[in-house]
């Protein structure tokens, strides 16, 4: 899941009351480093999911939301592990939504869903198309509910989006 400007309010709407899911959530929120822990803390209060800032390497666990820390990319390894990866900015940002989504591999045994929500620029569009191409489902936030209709617009322009919807509808589809 990728989100940028307008993210905190949108994530609040999306995750308030969300139960512990039988899934892992990988969240890339563009944000300054000094609020990483506060974003985690606020999200953790809203949902029964365990919300953690990724540090190093972790095995993907159901019921956990992994938040990418600022200044480093977050990538999936063999669809089982998640780790931090130093690297240049992509789409002017680090962590990049694209980098995380592009690291996901095809696996028919797993249900993979890409979600691109409010934010400036085009980060997430390439990654979302990749997820679609490997057999995943794809969702972009709709224009009316997007605080900035940049990232979701570019995602929709790939013609690889299965669902265009506001946060409440995305939430209902999550469980």
């Amino acid at each position: 899941m990728g989100i940028s400007t307008g993210g905190p309010a949108t994530l609040k709407e999306l995750f308030t009351g969300m139960p512990r899911l039988n899934a892992s959530i990988l969240l890339v929120q563009h944000m300054p480093a000094f609020i990483n822990e506060k974003v985690r803390f606020n999200l953790n209060k809203l949902t029964e999911l365990d919300v953690v800032i990724l540090k190093g390497l972790a095995k993907l666990e159901n019921g956990v939301m992994y938040v990418a820390p600022s200044g480093v990319h977050m990538v999936v390894k063999n669809n089982q592990f998640i780790q931090l990866l130093e690297g240049p900015k992509k789409n002017f940002v680090c962590p990049s939504v694209d980098t995380t989504m592009l690291s996901v591999a095809e696996n028919p045994a797993q249900e993979i869903i890409a979600v691109v929500m409010t934010g400036m620029g085009k980060d997430g569009a390439e990654g979302l198309a990749h997820i679609k191409n490997i057999g995943g489902k794809t969702i972009a936030q709709d224009e009316a509910s997007s605080i900035i209709y940049g990232m979701p617009k570019h995602a929709a322009a790939t013609n690889c989006v299965d669902l265009i919807a506001p946060p409440q509808a995305i939430k209902k589809g999550a469980y």
Partner: protein
């Protein structure tokens, strides 16, 4: 304002290394940000455009202050 717009102001704050400890919510007449400002997207947490309601304004301020005052260390 008049020499810099809001986005240029944020970029200048970042470029001068003065951003630490702040969050930015843009209140603007622009429906969409000008192109090329993705470079500062990580610094702009929220964004509302005119016309806006007082409720929207209060919510956005409360959301922002929650990131500064959660008391988590």
């Amino acid at each position: 304002m008049p020499e810099l717009n809001g986005f240029e102001t944020v970029k200048a704050i970042v470029d001068e290394g003065l951003f630490e400890g702040n969050v930015v919510c843009m209140l603007t007449g622009e429906q969409e940000p000008p192109a090329g400002l993705e470079t500062i997207s990580e610094y702009i947490l929220d964004y509302i455009h005119k016309p806006f309601s007082m409720t929207e304004l209060v919510n956005i301020i409360e959301n922002s202050t929650s990131y500064l005052a959660s008391g988590v260390e």
